[in-house]
């Protein structure tokens, strides 16, 4: 059984439909990419899964339980963690406090010191910066904090929304290396990206979204050479 | 009968009824209640120009009522100028002051703006309470100003009966409502609404949002000050705490919010809903249960905000649309 399965959901902003009968699944241990142009509904999809947006119809199942239209805090409790687009750090709090807030839910809070050590191991940069205010970090470092904060919640499924956004190529590379390491620990990852190459090379499977629908899906290796993607992005 | 004809007929009928009322209601007490009702509807309509259409929340409008009352009274008491002329002078001063405080404050976000207007109004009140006279001009500090009885005189804006006051405020109300109606259908109204709702988009369409807000502020303050003179002539007495205090400012805002901010009928509907409540609870329950009417006020305000955040006007308008559709036999509008 899939860890996460989204079935035929419709999502609206007011009266405007942004997701249209979309379905997808993520299996335990997988890395799945969602790619697509601006306005395709990628971020909305993640927000819907994590409970920030309501679905009008359809279902979302996580670990066998229906979670659609539940508030975000209970969805996090179940282990479905969303690292939002644009990092969204608590800008005036220290790196350590940001990470600690990541472990807010009870289950994670109990073992937060242990998790924190693991996160610092994975992202040694953050250990150096732990007492610095989040807003004073560079973009790449901020993204590291955002990912670390997500890990602090002990995710059963980690959803990342455009972690490479606005970063210089060298930083993009290091972010994806970090994601690789996270995936290697067996964490299931659902990744929304516009860096097609990087994300697909990291993933097991991928979905291409257009207009709130799945236009294409399949093993990442197949998608990476698919002409459709090139045309969607470059108009060729 | 078309919808337009129906609207016109009812409107003319309503205005006619208003003008005919003093023929039937002779009790000065009830006339006074109606006068105050119109007075509040007028003030709220004037407030609505900036508080409703320009999309901010001014909570210190009493200061402009005060400017109107003080200007005309000082001019008539000390210099023998007719209050009618003083009324205009007060309006001009109020408009000027309005622009003066509007300029820096319109940059601010909602809560700051509201706080700023409160602080300004309270600051002025405290100042007036501390000033006995400025040179030859007697302000009288906290004691306020009394207008001597001069008997029935149109020129002196004094009448021994309520009817003239009734017709003056009714006319003022009708004019200001007509003005709002006219503005809301003119470029000014479109620009104000656009600037209030999406300032950035409005600016991109060539609208100097701040300037239009200032214009609306000036108009609102001018009109508010006129009511100040009316009030002074009706009561023949006023003092800073009563006239400039926060209670009046808040009541104006409450009426607008409950009636429907930014709508033409909102202030009138709000005043119709709240004023009689105010008067009757005070008269019949006042000494037994002081404060009851304000508890009811507050409760209504909370309930309206919880269940009809746009005020009472939209649901009433829908009701009216249904009613009109039945009468005219046309389908529901829009």
């Amino acid at each position: 059984m899939a860890l996460l399965s989204v079935e035929n959901i419709d999502v609206f902003y007011g009266d405007v439909q942004v997701i249209n009968g979309l379905s997808l699944t993520v299996n335990e241990g997988e890395v799945v990419s969602i790619i697509g142009g601006n306005g395709a509904g990628k971020s909305t999809l993640l927000k819907t899964i994590s409970g920030l947006m309501p679905v009008r119809s359809g279902s979302i199942t996580f670990k066998g339980d229906r979670i659609e239209n539940q508030p975000p805090e209970t969805i996090v409790e179940r282990g479905l963690v969303h690292v939002p687009e644009g990092r969204r750090l608590f800008s005036l709090m220290s790196v350590a406090d940001n990470l600690e807030i990541g472990a807010y839910i009870k289950r994670a809070f109990k073992v937060k010191d242990k998790t924190l050590r693991q996160v610092y191991e994975l992202l040694p940069r953050l250990l150096e910066r732990r007492d610095q205010m989040a807003m004073t970090l560079s973009g790449g470092e901020q993204q590291m904090v955002a990912i670390g904060r997500g890990l602090m919640a002990l995710p059963g499924l980690l959803m990342l929304d455009e972690p490479s956004l606005g970063l210089a190529p060298i930083l993009v590379k290091s972010i994806f290396e970090t994601l690789r390491k996270i995936a290697d620990t067996g964490t299931t990852v659902l990744l929304v990206e516009q860096d097609v190459h990087h994300s697909l090379s990291l993933s097991d499977r991928g979905y291409v979204l257009e207009h709130g629908r799945v236009a294409l899906e399949g093993p990442a290796a197949e998608l990476i050479d698919n002409k459709h993607i090139k045309s969607a992005y470059l108009g060729m | 009968m078309s919808r337009k004809q129906l609207d016109m007929t009812l409107l003319v009928l309503a205005v006619a009824v208003c003008f005919a009322l003093p023929l039937v209601i002779t009790s000065p007490t009830y006339l006074q209640i109606l006068i105050l009702l119109f007075f509040y509807a007028y003030l709220t309509t004037a407030w609505n120009l900036v508080g409703g259409f320009a999309g901010v929340l001014p909570l210190g409008h009493s200061v402009f009522v005060g400017i109107g009352a003080y200007t005309s009274t000082i001019l008539s008491n000390q210099y023998g100028v007719s209050p009618w002329i003083g009324m205009l002078a007060g309006g001009v001063i109020a408009a000027f002051v309005g622009v003066l405080i509007g300029k820096p404050t319109f940059r601010m976000r909602g809560a700051y703006f509201a706080l700023c207007t409160i602080a300004f109004a309270e600051g002025i009140r405290v100042m007036i309470e501390n000033i006995d006279s400025i040179g030859p001009i007697k302000i009288n500090g906290p004691r306020g100003l009394l207008i001597p009885l001069k008997g029935d005189s149109f020129w002196n804006y004094q009448f021994m009966h309520k009817e003239p006051y009734y017709y003056i405020i009714l006319t003022m109300l009708l004019l200001v409502v007509a003005l709002t109606w006219f503005i809301s259908r003119s470029r000014m109204g479109y620009y104000l609404a656009a600037g209030g709702e999406e300032p950035e988009a409005a600016q991109a369409l060539g609208i100097n949002v701040a300037r239009y807000k200032l214009i609306s502020m000036a108009m609102s303050c001018f009109l508010t000050a006129l009511a100040g003179t009316f009030y002074a002539q009706l009561m023949l007495y006023f003092y800073p705490k009563g006239l400039l205090g926060l209670d009046l400012s808040f009541e104006i805002a409450f009426i607008a919010l409950i009636g429907g901010r930014g709508t033409i009928a909102g202030p009138v509907i709000g005043a119709l809903a709240l004023r009689p409540l105010n008067e009757f609870t005070r008269i019949y329950l006042g000494s037994q249960l002081p404060g009851l009417h304000l508890v009811i006020f507050g409760t209504i305000l909370i309930l309206v905000m919880l269940f009809q955040p746009k005020g009472l006007t939209p649901p009433l308008a829908r009701l009216y649309d249904k009613f009109a559709a039945r009468i005219t036999g046309e389908g529901g509008a829009k």
């Binding site: - | 409107l11 000065p28 000494s287």
Partner: protein
Amino acid sequence: MSYASIGKRLLGLAAIGLLTAGLSGPAFAQKTIKIGNVEPLSGPSASVGVQGKQAREMAVEEINKNGGIKSLGGAKLELVYADSKSDPTVGVTETERLINTEKVQLMTGCWNSAVTYPATQVAERYGVPFVVPVAVRDTITERGFKYVFRIAAKDSWWVRDQFRFLKDMQDETGVKLKTMALVFENGDWGTGFAEKWRALAKKDGYELVLDEPYPSTASDLTPVVTKLKAANPDIVMLVSNAADAILITNTMAEMKVKPKVTVASGGGHADPKFLENAGKNALYLFDEVEWNTDVNKPGAKETNAAFKAKYGYDLTGESVDAYVAMYVIADALERAASTDPEKVRAALAATKLSTGPAMICSYDSIEFDESGQNKNAGIVIVQVADVNGQLDRVTVWPKNARRAGYTPVFPANK
């Protein structure tokens, strides 16, 4: 358009509602004579308002029990109240309502000068006699009104007597006081007093070392008291409303400010709550009032005892004025033998009342001068003293009214 027309429609409906309400009032039987009273029954001055209300009720009960107005066939007096909330606007509106809707034949009220001032103008406009038991602003009776009469002294008299008292006491004790501080609430009443203090202080040769208004809603009066301490005056003149009287007295004690003489002007200092809360801090304070429980007049003790039994506290200057006002009205109605406003007015103007229950007041007769002011209205000064272990207000001035056996403590602090 549609919104506007709805508004107008509703307005019409409301008007019809009002209309029916207006017409349905019953015609009034002439068995009773209605007296309208506007008093602060809620708001900051509610406690004095209630005192005045209860004093009126007691007087009217007595009058009615004794046969009402005999020349009018034993007509009974009926009191109709309206609450001014100490707000002049409400006071004006309510006065108009009492006159127009309740059809009262006379008006009394309103304690607050700020309310009385415009409210009496309303009565004048409608030609309804208005008896002001207490409201001290001079100008209330100085506008050439025909229908306005005042029982209590006006503020220039209050101030005049405060200075007379100071002079008499200095003569009596041989103590010389030189410096004076004025501390007053910045409302209508306080600023009115201060204006006259300044003139008299100049005339009597006191040096003003502090002239300090303060807002009665101040959250802290320490700054004022600090200033007072620095000014170190011989005499402190005070005008305070209810709570600030307590606050200022306690703060003075706290800051160890001990002027030789402190003279208050009634109001907050005369409120029964004052002694209860200020306690010993108020010791040897002089307060100016119209009346005191120990006033040496026939019937005063008995009336006070009856009042206390009924309502649980002593009469005050304000309540005695209200009590007296009812007898003045009854007397005038009796002589007028009519409820015609013009005749009642004439009767009031001709008042010369020197007998009867009204004479619990501190002076011997009630007569109105041309302005409508009771020309005999008198004032006494009391001192807060420890009498047999209990704080009491003891009459000390005028000397002929002084409680037997009491020597004023003057100056209070050497």
